[in-house]
């Protein structure tokens, strides 16, 4: 297991069970360890380094998805291997536990397998996201170093085309099957839009039947080529957002018995405010390790130019990946993300889920409201604003 000391105890990533856990100080002491000065120092501890970093290994991609958050192109930037190895060094030194390789299309790199091996040598758990387009048996062999590979799969032909602008469903399905048949743990990334949400149950059944063991549900975000007015028509409707808790409950009950797991991304936690049961379950969410917006904290992205961003969907800070160890806690841009969490305005300040949600998706608030503020698509924020508009002045 990998253990990283924290003020509360330690983060632990297990080797034999795919899980990360927060262990309190007593738990760490039971392992025969002690946090030393980090625990005895009465001053507040420095902000920790990220637990998970999204590493863009290329900006090249020929798919041309309409909503690509990176605006990847066939002639995009591609860092040399030596540069990426230095970035992996920096992640190791900072105590990062998981590195998610992305792009662009990472499988266009011939050295992708080698990079996964190098991540492992550094004690990092490498995972990968791919479109699956052009994934051959030979390429799959190079992916064995990854703990898990997720294939972008938004559903059958229509749903896939709705999100990406072309029908790549059959290629994605072939990739899922190929990976599963090769014994590689495979999941699917499903982007939810107003149109594709209805077909989600069928999409998950299909993915499960193809051999996927997990689905990661992703909110459609206004970044890269998706940062257009079209976003407003594609995002989930207020009714869909408010009902998402019930949708997840039904999908989980259907798939959990078969061992098919469902994940939601950080930006979907605000929707939980629309579900009375989940809204009253902040402690359970915390205990289940559910993360809302972790930009500036447990999550960071390293873009192709080596600059660190709070997440993949927002602009980079001035911080270079090589300075992650020393300056993650003091970078002023990342500090602004952390300070928002500590002093969020209403209605987040009085929200029962604030400690988990952390104000929702800032990529959305920056695009829709033009400010780093509460998520405007959160059911609670919508209600708060509606009330404010109708209140007598």
């Amino acid at each position: 297991m990998k253990l990283r000391y924290e003020a509360f105890g330690a983060w632990v990533k297990l080797d034999t069970v795919p899980a990360v856990l927060a262990l309190d100080r007593e738990g760490v002491r039971a392992l025969g360890l002690d946090g030393g000065d980090l625990w005895s120092d009465t001053r507040p501890a420095a902000p920790s380094a990220p637990l998970e970093v999204h590493l863009a290994v290329t900006q090249r991609c020929a798919a041309g998805c309409e909503g690509c958050y990176l605006d990847a192109r066939p002639d995009g930037l591609e860092p040399p291997r030596a540069v990426l190895l230095e970035r992996l060094d920096a992640l190791r030194d900072a105590g990062v536990m998981t590195v998610a390789f992305g792009g662009g299309e990472p499988t266009t790199r011939d050295d992708l397998g080698l990079l996964a091996d190098e991540a492992r040598k550094r004690g990092l758990t490498p995972v990968l996201t791919t479109s699956g387009l052009g994934l051959s048996a030979a390429k799959v062999e190079r992916l064995r170093g990854f703990a898990q590979v997720n294939v972008s799969y938004d559903g059958g032909a229509e749903a896939y085309a709705e999100v990406r602008g072309f029908d790549g469903a059959r290629a994605a399905e072939a990739a899922i099957q190929l990976l599963a048949a090769s014994g590689i743990r495979v999941g699917v990334n499903v982007v939810l839009t107003r149109t594709t949400l209805d077909s989600l149950p069928e999409t998950l059944r299909r993915a499960c039947s193809l051999g996927a063991s997990e689905a990661q549900l992703l909110r459609y975000k206004p970044a890269g080529r998706a940062a257009t007015l079209d976003y407003l028509a594609r995002r989930l409707s207020p009714e869909q957002a408010a009902a998402l808790g019930g949708t997840l409950r039904a999908l989980t009950l259907e798939h959990a018995p078969a061992g098919f797991s469902i994940r939601v991304d950080c930006s979907m936690i605000p929707y939980f405010a629309g579900d009375p049961v989940l809204y009253a379950s902040a402690d359970a969410l915390m205990r289940a390790g559910v993360f809302g917006c972790e930009g500036g904290q447990a999550l960071a992205a390293v873009k192709v130019d080596g600059k660190v961003a709070p997440c993949s969907f927002v602009a980079s800070t001035g911080l270079d990946a090589s300075d992650l160890l020393l300056d993650h806690g003091s970078d002023p841009d990342l500090g602004r993300w952390r300070s928002f969490v500590r002093s969020a305005p209403e209605p987040c300040a009085s929200c029962a889920l604030a400690s988990v949600c952390k104000g929702g998706c800032k990529a959305v608030s920056l695009f829709v409201d033009g400010v780093h503020g509460p998520d405007p698509e959160c059911p609670r924020v919508r209600a708060y604003r509606a009330t404010a508009q109708t209140a007598p002045s």
């Binding site: 080797d15 007593e26 030393g36 997720n150 994940r263 390790g289």
Partner: protein
């Protein structure tokens, strides 16, 4: 009610830190990263006792495999009795036998500890051994 602050990170922020001069922050951080090495000696393997499941304050199942957003498994929220219990049991068992490698600043695991930065020159120190 919501404070906008995750209890996992209680005591994990240093609001006054940004006000300190950069050099002072760096010096303090270097000191903090160096000091624990004296008291964190995980090798040979330290004696363990069973971890009380209540010490597991949060459990995030799965590897996560998305390159853009941080994902959280929600299964355990809806089917906690059986699934959650099984995962918890597996985790506590793993804590009892897996080899420990301390990572991050002050880490003394198999991977070498991160290079300490020379505060005065702001350049990485190179281990000459």
């Amino acid at each position: 009610m919501g404070s906008g602050f995750n209890p996992l990170y209680d005591g994990d922020t240093r609001p006054d830190d940004l006000a300190r001069p950069r050099r002072q922050r760096l010096r303090r951080r270097v000191i903090l990263s160096a000091r624990p090495i004296q008291c964190r000696l995980p090798m040979p393997e330290p004696a363990r006792s069973p971890v009380d499941p209540r010490s597991v304050r949060a459990l995030r199942p799965g590897h996560g495999a998305n390159c853009s957003s941080i994902g959280s498994v929600v299964d355990t929220l809806f089917v906690t009795a059986l699934l959650g219990g099984a995962i918890f049991a597996a985790v506590v068992a793993a804590l009892g036998h897996e080899r420990i490698e301390v990572v991050g600043p002050g880490g003394t695991g198999e991977n070498k500890a991160p290079p300490e930065r020379d505060v005065e020159s702001d350049a990485p120190k190179v281990d000459s051994t």
